[in-house]
């Protein structure tokens, strides 16, 4: 066994760190879009809008039922062949769209379960003071569902950050892509991938810390 090239690793850290903003940026953009889409689908699933409900169920079933990598290839390499308007799509955009659709399907189910978990009396109280269904949902039910769904949603965000590494297969030079290039130049694969692994780990640990802060904030309504 040879010794680790520590100097190489330390020199690599700032290089890979330079790609952290792109990784976080893709994950954040996809998270915001996925949350919005997931909320809409979750509310729809609770309200059961005819026709739309079947479509949403099919959507969720497809995006939960197929691998993310397959979905990314389908959008980036496949879809432009059928829809020429998409032929100019760049890897970053394609990755954000793919992550959004994939994770929104999972998140919609979590949010739906959280909505259904809110006590029935909360609906009744909102209706009784004369709120419309939409007002009741937005102002009373969703905020309470958010508290329940938050830990799961943050877990999906963590998963999403790690999944941005798949964008490298679409030719995007993000953390993983940059590491791959560096390693190919130096042939120090173990050192290079160890560095990127530790950096992903550090990002996720930071998020776990923020998750605790968020949960404390959301739980203030039930703290005694």
């Amino acid at each position: 066994m040879r010794a680790l090239d520590i100097d190489y690793m330390l020199g690599l850290v700032p290089v890979i760190l330079g790609y952290v903003p792109l990784t976080i940026g893709m994950a954040l953009a996809a998270m915001v879009c996925a949350l919005l889409l997931a909320c809409l689908m979750a509310v729809e699933r609770v309200m059961r809008v005819p026709v739309l409900d079947q479509f949403v169920q099919l959507f969720i079933s497809f995006f939960r039922g197929t691998p993310l990598l397959v979905q990314l290839f389908l959008f980036y390499y496949g879809l432009p062949q059928i829809l020429p308007v998409l032929s100019g799509i760049n890897g970053v955009t394609a990755a954000i769209i793919g992550l959004t659709l994939h994770f929104s399907a999972y998140m919609a189910e979590s949010i739906r379960a959280a909505i259904l978990g809110v006590d029935r009396s909360q609906w009744e109280a909102a209706q009784a003071v004369g709120m419309t269904q939409a007002q009741s949902m937005r102002r009373i039910i969703l905020p309470q569902a958010a508290r329940v769904a938050a830990p799961t949603l943050v877990n999906y965000f963590i998963d999403m950050i790690k999944s941005t590494s798949l964008a490298f297969t679409l030719g995007v030079t993000e953390m993983m892509g940059a590491t791959q290039k560096e390693a190919a130049g130096s042939f120090l694969y173990f050192e290079a991938f160890l560095v990127v692994a530790v950096l992903y780990w550090a990002i996720v640990e930071t998020l776990s810390f923020l998750q605790k802060q968020l949960e404390r904030h959301l739980n203030k309504a039930i703290a005694r």
């Binding site: 909102a126 003071v129 004369g130 005694r224």
Partner: protein
């Protein structure tokens, strides 16, 4: 003036409300008593369509809602003329005491925030909870929560306040303070329809007492008539049991 005609509610083959006819004058305080499972709560819940009646007509002022043709706009209008106090309080768990009161004033009645908050603060003073303005329901006792539940209903200035066994879920130590508050609401001649098991309270505050059994109004009259000289055997038997 509130009028109810032929209000009927069935669950499967079980008729819970069997053609209720009832008029309530503005400012009248009506108490409903009767055995469990006789449709008292269902009557209240049908009056604001938390449970949709199968048939019957409800009139509040110039608003008429017929169960066979009721639109969601009519149901919304009906709810905006009534206020409801729940047995289990049902405060908005994600809102502070004050926001529980301002919520409907702002989102439903479209009052400016400052005005709604001034109203909420005045009500919190009246119900003796000025020091709990920023507290969430989970941090309050049952009695405090129910006082806010009543405060939330007071703030709506509803044509009819519906109170569904407001003290039944309370620990005995909190019943007194909630009854005191309801007494004060009643003294202002707020039109109210209250389902209660507190017979002494009903006798004190009600202009009229209704005895229900089997989904029907069996007997009604002044508290003295019902409590001291019930005409129907079922009323007499019930009162003997609860005393």
């Amino acid at each position: 003036m509130i009028s109810i005609r032929g209000l009927t509610k069935r669950y499967g083959t079980n008729t819970v409300l069997d053609g209720i006819d009832l008029d309530i004058a503005a400012g009248e305080r009506v108490a409903i008593i009767g055995p469990s499972g006789t449709g008292k709560s269902t009557l209240l819940r049908c009056l604001n369509y938390l449970d949709r009646p199968d048939s019957g007509v409800i009139r509040i002022g110039d608003l008429t809602v017929d169960a066979t043709t009721a639109t969601s706009a009519q149901i919304l209008a009906l709810r905006r003329r009534t206020a409801f106090v729940f047995q289990n309080y049902a405060l908005f768990a994600n809102k502070t005491a004050r926001d529980n009161i301002t919520e409907a004033l702002i989102t439903v009645q479209r009052k400016p925030r400052a005005e709604a908050e001034a109203r909420a603060d005045a009500i919190l003073g009246e119900i003796g909870l000025s020091d709990k303005t920023a507290s969430y329901p989970a941090a309050l006792s049952g009695g405090q929560q129910q006082r806010i539940g009543i405060g939330r209903a007071m703030a709506l200035d509803a044509a009819l306040m519906l109170l569904d066994e407001p003290t039944s879920a309370l620990d005995p130590e909190w019943v007194g303070e909630v009854l005191d508050l309801m007494r004060r609401v009643a003294e202002r001649r707020q039109t109210m329809l209250i389902v209660t098991h507190e017979m002494q309270f009903a006798r004190e505050i009600a202009d009229r007492v209704i005895f229900m059994d089997g989904g029907r109004i069996v007997e009604q009259g002044t508290p003295a008539q019902i409590f001291d000289a019930p005409q129907d055997m079922r009323t007499a038997n019930f009162l003997r049991r609860v005393r």
